[in-house]
Amino acid sequence: MPVRALGWLAVLGLVAGIVAAFGYAPREVMQGNVQRIMYLHVPAVLTAYLAFALVFIGSVGYLLTRRAGWDRLALAAAEPGVIFTGITIASGSIWGKPTWGTWWTWDARLTSTAVLFLVYVGYLLLRGMIDEPDRRARAAAVVGILGTANIPIVHFSVKWWRALHQPATILGPEPSPIAAPIALTLFVNWLAFTLLFLYLLAKRTEIARLEERHAE
């Protein structure tokens, strides 16, 4: 059973990630142990981006082919995507309190992540409101495409508005200045989160398929 194997791989990865985050990664000089939240914060947001990319792919695929499978992919990716964005915001908030002295600030990337979160919560609410599968899939696909097209616009609008968050270290233009053990720990956690996401995706797609069969 490959899906179950994926699940166990994710468990293995998460355990390894936790061990690495607390046992292997060094204590950060400036922030101390608080910095270890990064091993949750960064993989969560990267996974969320992956999820929303899949929502986009599923949406475009559905409008082009009208095959229900694409719609199931979009739905199955959107739900964990919202959860992972929520984890990003919550963990960032907990990280922000001791380092910035506040739970929330209207900084560029906090704001854009919050907008992203709301857009996809809206996407899921919209899905919940339409009963007819075909109409739901079409409306959701349009919103899914617009949501993704919106990401760069949101990004630049809030970036020009203000910036307090540290610039992106991993996806930034320059080679990453992160020390090797930290980078490795981050990589393990990112891998574990991606596995977990793929497991959830596979499960959710399966459930959606069963739901559709039941409805027929």
């Binding site: 696909a141 617009l146 616009i153």
Partner: protein, 221 residues
């Protein structure tokens, strides 16, 4: 192409005509903006400095709320008397209908915005004449962006109960519009607001393209 423009125009014409006869939307929206003005006055009082600081946000709050009302109604009228069937049966590219509805919404919003700005100038004794060209440009770009999203979502939500669900998508347009309006109202040169105007232009373009490409899927049903 000329057929495309003609089809879009006939949607605009149809909506304008029915609006001229019923005056439903214009009356609702203008009355609503007047009400907003009272609330703003109650909360801000006679302090001019406070009015001027809050002005860009207040203006866009008014436009946004009026827009929500207007965009939600765009396709509601088509639900009656099987008009929706007529739209689906219309020949040619369905995006012409989207563009027609969009133009109608922009025109409607332009009326509301003109009235609201005029009322602000009158009741808060503000002088907009020196900044008018810049203000018109910002309002036009911002309204186009809001209406492009709002018209598409209006078609999606015409059959739903909740219509304000999809608002977060409009946040960047609002942010850029409010910021640009602020710059313009402070009397600074338009070049100061250039990044915001460019962003608004880019956002308008993206929303328009998405709207034109996906509208036919929304219209089915």
């Amino acid at each position: 192409m000329s057929g495309y423009v003609r089809r879009a125009w006939s949607v605009v014409w149809k909506d304008l005509l029915s609006e001229r006869r019923s005056k439903e939307s214009v009356n609702t929206l203008v009355f609503f903006s007047l009400l907003l003005l009272f609330v703003f006055q109650f909360s801000l009082g006679p302090d001019r400095a406070r009015v001027e600081t809050a002005l860009p946000g207040l203006l866009w709050l008014g436009f946004l709320l009026a827009g929500l009302l207007a965009f939600g109604r765009t396709f509601l009228v088509e639900r009656e008397n099987d008009c929706w069937e007529g739209l689906i049966l219309a020949p040619g590219d369905k995006s012409a209908i989207y563009l027609g509805k969009l133009v109608g919404n922009v025109l409607l919003m332009a009326v509301v915005e003109a009235v609201l700005v005029l009322l602000f100038a009158l009741f808060f004794s503000l002088d907009f004449t020196s900044v008018l060209p810049g203000l018109v440009l910002v309002l036009a770009l911002g309204t186009l962006g809001l209406a492009a999203v709002g018209t598409l979502f209006g078609a999606i939500t015409a059959q739903l109960r909740a219509r304000e669900l999809l608002l977060p998508a409009a946040v960047p347009v609002l942010l850029a519009s409010v910021s640009a309006t602020q710059t313009v109202l402070l009397g600074e040169p338009l070049a100061q607001a250039a990044p915001w105007l460019k962003l608004l232009g880019a956002a308008d373009l993206v929303y328009l393209v998405v709207g034109v490409l996906t509208f036919e899927f929304v219209l089915e049903a």
